[in-house]
């Protein structure tokens, strides 16, 4: 009887695992090396900067938060990476204002970005946990455009706060209602029912918009309130800016709201809103910046909707970066180098970085805000050292 010999001779080694391993090894060694080399060549930094950076270690900064400022923050990350010769990489993930706040509170990220500043309770909680406060550093401003799709009507329809509230509430049901006609005497308004579109996901845009509606109407303030996600009295929910835009664009008679950046990017008609001074103002970069050019408290935690500024657009808001005062108390920041680079990056954002805002359709910070921001940043500490002062 022949016993089959189970020897190495007739064991065939499968090719697949070997290939897989080889590919992985290749990918993990050769390619990153070439990427590093490529990255280093990209810069043409002045000699002094290079000298200053010499000897500093590579640092990765993790941040997350609002989707509205995400294009700007990630563009800053790109630019800053080039500025520092590939040394400092800022990874920003757009997960929503709510997500930014939560991950910031849980200390899984080094900084968060939000369109809704931290509440007093949240700051108290942080003060208890870390012995220091959390700063809301304004980094840009954004406007919420009131978007609509009314056949025959182009951009520039005029609204007031209480008209908007009543439309969103259902008290004004058609587009040719007398109150809308009053505000727009020269426009031919059709007898079309108003279809409300709102966000179904949590969003800073919603927070700013509902904040304005709450200021415009006591009813709204009491019944609906303002937050990143509210219980809308009526209308269809769509996901994300693009969801609302998509519905508005395809539904005659629709009324919705989008971040201005998004509305201009996608050519959606939006209207002007009458501000506190009585002027109908179209949302654009100038009127957005103007809205923020007001008296700001030292911690800049203020809502600038219904702004007192004369040519400011009334539905605007700051976008903030949240950062712990005592950087060493943030579990996500593990080394002094990380703290230093984070502070440096934040300084850069509010000063040199503002150059990049307007080409991307984001409003520049007004002087008042920059001053406050710089003041707050100078108070950042690491293990007691005023690291904020150092990196100025």
């Amino acid at each position: 009887m022949r016993i089959p010999a189970i020897t190495n001779a007739n064991r065939r080694v499968p090719v697949a695992p070997g290939l897989m391993v080889a590919t992985v090894v290749l990918l993990l060694t050769v390619v990153p090396a070439s990427v590093e080399a490529g990255g280093a060549q990209e810069t043409d930094q002045p000699a002094t900067q290079a000298a200053r950076d010499a000897g500093r270690p590579d640092v990765d900064v993790e941040g997350a938060g609002a989707s509205f400022p995400a294009p700007l923050i990630t563009a800053w990350a790109d630019e800053y990476r080039d500025e520092t010769g590939g040394r400092v990489t800022v990874n920003y993930q757009s997960i929503g204002s709510g997500g930014g706040i939560r991950q910031f509170l849980e200390q899984t990220i080094m900084f968060g970005a939000t369109e809704r500043h931290l509440t007093d309770e949240q700051i108290e909680e942080i003060e208890e946990k870390t012995g220091g406060t959390a700063f809301n550093i304004p980094i840009t401003l954004g406007s919420v455009a009131v978007t609509y799709n009314v056949p025959g009507v182009s951009e520039g329809l005029v609204f007031t706060g209480d008209v908007l509230v009543d439309m969103f509430r259902g008290e004004i049901e058609t587009w040719n209602d007398s109150r809308i006609r009053e505000l727009n005497p020269d426009v031919e308004l059709p007898d079309l029912p108003v279809q409300i579109v709102h966000r179904s996901d949590g969003s800073g845009t919603t927070a700013v918009f509902t904040d304005y509606l709450s200021k415009a109407s006591e009813w709204w303030e009491e019944e609906v309130g303002f937050a990143t996600s509210v219980d809308w009295p009526r209308g269809t929910g769509a996901n994300g800016n693009e969801g609302v835009a998509g519905v508005v664009q395809t539904t005659p008679g629709a009324l919705g709201y989008n971040s201005l950046v998004y509305a201009t990017l996608n050519d959606i008609a939006y209207g002007a809103v009458v501000n506190r001074s009585g002027e109908p103002v179209l949302p654009d970069l100038a009127s957005t910046s103007a809205a923020g050019d007001v008296e700001l408290p030292p911690d800049t935690r203020v809502s600038i909707t219904d702004t007192p500024a004369a040519d400011g657009y009334p539905i605007a808001g700051f976008a903030w970066v949240m950062v712990y005062e005592r950087l060493d108390q943030n579990r996500a920041i593990r080394t002094r180098d990380q703290a230093e680079e984070l502070s440096r990056f934040l300084y850069w954002i509010i000063t040199d970085g503002q150059e990049f805002s307007e080409p991307l359709d984001f409003a520049r910070l007004p002087e008042a805000a920059v001053e406050r921001a710089e003041e707050m940043l100078s108070r950042l500490t690491w293990d007691g050292e005023r690291i904020g002062e150092e990196v100025r």
């Binding site: 990630t74 990874n91 579990r331």
Partner: protein
């Protein structure tokens, strides 16, 4: 009930069955077609060598790509496999070779059950077990989540493959006086090698396509990162972000990512089929 009627009915049923088949198969071909057509234009060399960066890059026409996502997918999936393969194989061996064990029945049922559980629950589990205690999102957390997805698949396939190996193999080992464990390791496992590999490939392909468990474990990364203690980007999760973003250029990259994912899955799939056919033809 005439014969003629019965023949017509027979014919009609056949027509309906063919119609159903076409209705089922056609959408798949349509989907693959659309993915290829829409994505091919974004499959530039830059796609495979550049990192994502900001949307401004894409909008301003500067080079951008998903190199870091591809690398991240490979790293996280292989890491997950390294966690899942031993566990899955051990479970499969236990179910097949140690059938006298009283735990065998329940574990077999649980394996089958776990196989169909939503991957997002594995993500929640990995979040609670890895992200919360360590305080950060990391590639490791993502790998753990994917490993949870892979284990039942590997266990199930290893078990079924080992069961189909002929008993004579084990008899050979026993006849030589080998201890039980040696019989398994040296006679049964090598014979089932390609079948096991098939199962591993299938599990790998399945896990590589999962996005939900990675959303809150490995999080996401816009640049290349090889540190597994930090967030890392992967193709499926990045594809989701690109698809729901408002930028046209990113949508185009999303289609391209879909092509890459599809090709990857099909490659694993074809390899698994080729292996199982080879295995089937090679009767010990």
């Amino acid at each position: 009930m005439t014969l003629r009627f019965r023949h017509i009915r027979d014919y009609a049923v056949r027509a309906v069955l063919v119609l159903c088949t076409v209705c089922l198969v056609a959408p798949l071909l349509v989907i693959i077609g659309y993915v290829l057509v829409n994505g091919i234009s974004a499959l530039t060399p830059a796609f495979f060598t550049e990192e994502l960066g900001s949307p401004a890059r894409a909008m301003q026409g500067r080079p951008t790509g998903l190199f870091h996502s591809i690398v991240g997918t490979v790293v996280i999936d292989l890491l997950a496999l390294s966690f899942a393969a031993p566990v899955g194989m051990g479970a499969g061996i236990m179910l097949s070779e140690y059938s006298e064990n009283p735990l065998n029945g329940p574990i077999r049922i649980l394996t089958g059950t776990l196989n169909g559980m939503p991957a997002i629950l594995m993500g929640l589990l990995a979040f609670s077990l890895v992200v919360r205690p360590t305080g950060r999102f990391s590639a490791v957390a993502g790998s753990v989540a994917l490993a949870f997805v892979m284990v039942p698949i590997i266990a199930r396939s290893v078990e079924s493959v080992l069961r189909t190996t002929p008993w004579s193999l084990r008899e050979v080992g026993l006849a030589l006086g080998l201890p039980r464990w040696r019989v398994i390791v040296s006679t049964v496992l090598p014979a089932a090698r390609s079948g096991i590999l098939t199962g591993v490939l299938i599990a790998f392909a399945r896990a590589a396509g999962e996005a939900a468990p990675l959303l809150f474990t490995s999080f996401g990364q816009n640049y290349l990162n090889l540190d597994i203690r930090r967030p890392m980007d992967t193709l499926p999760q990045r594809l989701y972000s690109l698809a729901i973003s408002p930028y046209q250029e990113w949508h185009a990259m999303g289609w391209a990512a879909a092509i890459v994912l599809l090709l990857f899955v099909m490659a694993c799939f074809l390899a698994a089929r080729a292996l199982s056919r080879a295995h089937g033809g090679r009767d010990a």
